[in-house]
């Protein structure tokens, strides 16, 4: 059975909410953190309701809504989300009120909205949808496992219309915390020149990206979702490469058939060498390389942005210059794209997407 991606919705630091355009206009930022642009779309809700929503829920809902509208289907039979950090801002708010008010007279709303599954739950509520609802929360695997769950559901016949997505929000406080772990650049950098400088750390980011998966092609079909693989706590380059090859092989592909590799390069000196070390083993004769994190920043579910970019490339049969890192061979047809991402060099993921045929 083939799994088709028949709808997309992306809210990011770029103007990605219009499903018909593809990075035609690119926003650049000087700083250490990128945040989402407010999407210029009608969220389909009344103003009063919209004002009460947290930013996480609002942007999550809008991304899901764009996706549902794009797919022309408002009745998913599975809603599956992946988020590494979950509801950051509301958790902070409740935590700070605990300190401020010494455990008394606390506002309940931030607590209510602090649960990791709040976006998927709110989407279900707004759609009046009683179907399967799941929330994955495992760091840099959260989106991958949401995709995997969607595949399982479709292949087992439990579902036929899956809404699945990945999202994470960055807040000022969360930036301070993670900055202490040296994840980010010491100095402000222009995101479009992220790869021009070699340094420790990268730029923080965020995004909300949804996909509509079905077991049949539609007039909207973007791509076929072939495979998802996650490798936990693996530092051995040879083993990572062997698994990447296994992922290709079990889908009847050879390295030479991969037209583009979307890599999670983020401008961090140590982290970026991992891609080179692993991929030179998988593709000894070279590969066309693209990257996405300079456009949306680094966050735990940024592979959802990469998946959006890859399926757009497959649909439009073009990889825009802004995504290109290295083109060794300009191929006329783009048939297969492999997304490879890692977190801290130990957790790795592969997502394999193909042209629907």
């Amino acid at each position: 059975m083939k799994i088709y991606i028949n709808g997309i919705g992306n809210v990011s630091p770029q103007k990605t909410w219009d499903c018909a355009s593809f990075l035609d206009e690119v926003k650049d930022y000087d700083g250490r953190m990128l945040q989402c642009l407010e999407p210029e779309v009608d969220p389909g809700l009344d103003e009063k309701y919209l004002r009460r929503m947290s930013r996480l829920i609002r942007l999550g809902w809008i991304a899901a809504k764009i996706c549902l509208d794009d797919a022309g289907n408002q009745r998913p039979d599975a809603i599956i989300t992946g988020s590494g950090w979950g509801s950051v801002l509301d958790s902070e708010k409740f935590l700070l009120s605990l300190y401020r008010n010494k455990e008394s007279l606390l506002p309940p709303t931030p607590f209510i909205q602090s649960t990791h599954n709040v976006v998927g739950a709110q989407i279900a509520m707004l759609l009046n949808n009683c179907a399967y609802n799941m929330a994955y929360a495992h760091g840099s695997f959260a989106f991958e496992h949401a995709l995997l769950d969607g595949i399982l559901g479709l292949k087992s016949g439990d579902s036929r219309n899956v809404l699945t997505g990945g999202f994470d929000e960055i807040t000022a406080n969360q930036f301070i915390l993670t900055d202490r772990l040296h994840r980010w650049r010491r100095q402000a950098v222009n995101n479009l020149r992220l790869f021009d400088t070699e340094a420790e750390g990268t730029i923080a980011g965020e995004g909300f990206t949804f996909f509509f998966l079905q077991d049949y092609a539609s007039d909207k079909t973007y791509a076929v979702l072939k495979d998802v693989m996650t490798l936990f706590s693996t530092e051995n380059t040879e083993m990572i490469a062997a698994n990447a090859l296994l992922c290709l092989e079990r889908n009847g592909l050879e390295p030479g058939m991969i037209d583009w590799v979307f890599t999670g390069l983020n401008g961090d000196l140590d982290g970026d060498t991992v891609y080179r070390d692993v991929l030179s083993r998988v593709f000894p004769s070279g590969f066309n390389q693209a990257a996405w994190k300079h456009l949306c920043g680094e966050y735990l579910t940024s592979t959802a942005f990469a998946t959006w970019a890859a399926v757009k490339a497959l649909k439009q049969q073009a990889v825009p210059d802004i995504l290109r890192i290295k083109t060794i061979e300009n191929r006329h047809d783009i048939r297969n794209i492999l997304i490879y991402n890692h977190f801290k060099g130990i957790h790795h993921s592969f997502i394999l997407l193909s042209f629907p045929s």
């Binding site: 409740f94 279900a124 929330a135 695997f141 769950d149 202490r180 772990l181």
Partner: protein, 397 residues
């Protein structure tokens, strides 16, 4: 034909025992673990009772034979103890070449540390070792490393239904042939974040909770962890399974972020799906281990859902939360273990603290343990914020 999924081992730690045997003893003797909070630093110590495990983090680490290091949370320690027991109980060798996954559910996760050190996180570098523990995958990763599991590691967080969803997901991965076995469960420690959260919602009872009682007045929180070893039927070899995970179902109530619909739409749907998956009729169910948090809303909605599905023939049912308190992300796994113990020891566990039947219903929970009724199929319910409802069916083999 999808593979059958067997449960071949379990492990548990709660306020009524540090392992399977102790939990069984407390269930059998009707001993509750709810009492005054003594370890957690909170202003509510004397006001709000909870199912606290009376062991400090150092003592938990000692049980594991490991050193307590910076960045190792209580959630992870509890999870490691229960997961380790589950593996031992199943008698499996995790390094025999079979594909093993670890999936864990947690809602509190690293918040137990974050709530202590957050001002430091914001202002200085003194507590940096705890910052990463803030991510919900932290406890899962600790458990995976402790046991040496690498093939598949994942975390689910759907609030109070988390670990029931973990068990369902584990079964689905096995049925699909992706994994041979999965260590599936959840861990959650007591935290001031959640105690204050539920207290603020005015659904935290100042007395021990009374599920399905007309005078019920909210929940008590608890802490602990539980894990099951799920294996594909053709991978258990000569080892005898404890029972089969025969059904599972998940639904959304789509009513309110923190309240279930008064008609029990979501609970009914989850139970119905679980029975259908197991090829069972309502009359086949011998016992229902209810979600039964003792909030006004949950018990009414769950009872209505049960009534819709079972009609006049309501099987024996009880909530075991008066024993342990509500373990949030771990409750589904803890109650799965209690359901399995129910099958293995042919006992319906009592619903402690019950006195007055709810005026909406003509039925009431088991007040005392019922032994020897011939338990074959046990339904276990777990419902969470966001209207997330999951039901599991465990069956004797």
């Amino acid at each position: 034909m999808a593979k059958r999924v067997f449960v071949t081992g379990c492990g548990i730690i709660t306020s009524i025992g540090n392992n399977l045997e102790e939990n069984l003893k407390s269930l059998t003797s009707g001993r509750s673990g709810i009492g005054k909070i003594t370890l957690l630093e909170t202003v509510h110590r004397n006001a709000l009772p909870a199912g606290e495990i009376r062991l400090r983090d150092e003592e938990l680490a000692r049980i594991l034979g490991i050193k307590l290091r910076e960045g190792l949370t209580r959630t992870a320690l509890l999870g490691m103890i229960a997961a380790e027991e589950a593996v031992r109980n199943a008698g499996i060798n995790l390094h025999d070449g079979l594909r093993t996954g670890l999936i864990s559910g947690s809602t509190v996760g690293g918040m137990v540390a974050t709530e202590k050190y957050y001002p430091d996180f914001l202002e200085n570098d003194s507590r940096n070792a705890w910052i990463e523990a803030n991510e919900s995958s932290e406890s899962t990763e600790r458990i995976a490393r402790h046991l040496g599991i690498k093939d598949f590691v994942s975390t689910i967080n759907t609030a109070c239904s988390s670990s029931a969803n973990v068990i369902m997901t584990g079964a689905r991965l096995i049925r699909a042939g992706m994994l041979d076995r999965v260590i599936a469960g959840g861990a959650d420690a007591l935290s001031i974040f959640t105690i204050n959260g539920f207290n603020t919602l005015m659904i935290y009872d100042r007395e021990p909770c009374k599920p399905f009682d007309e005078l019920r007045n909210g929940l008590n929180l608890g802490e602990g962890a539980a894990y099951l070893v799920l294996e594909a039927e053709d991978r258990t070899g000569p080892r005898l399974p404890l029972c089969e995970l025969s059904g599972y179902g998940n639904s959304t109530d789509a009513h309110h972020q923190t309240a279930l619909s008064p008609e029990g739409t979501g609970p009914h749907l989850a139970m119905k799906l679980a029975l259908e998956r197991g090829g069972l009729e309502p009359g086949d169910i011998s016992y229902i281990n209810m979600h039964g948090t003792a909030t006004i809303n949950n018990d009414l909605s769950e009872g209505m859902g049960m009534l819709t599905l079972f009609g006049e023939k309501i099987p024996p049912f009880s909530s075991t939360k008066p024993f342990t308190g509500h373990l949030l992300g771990a409750s589904g796994a803890v109650e799965a273990v209690f359901s399995i113990l129910s099958i293995r020891h042919d006992t319906v566990w009592p619903n402690l603290n019950f006195n007055t039947p709810m005026k909406e219903f003509g039925f009431f929970p088991a007040r005392h343990a019922i032994q020897g009724s011939g338990i074959r199929h046990v339904l276990s319910n777990s419902f969470g914020f966001g209207g997330n409802n999951t039901s599991l069916v465990f069956s004797s083999i």
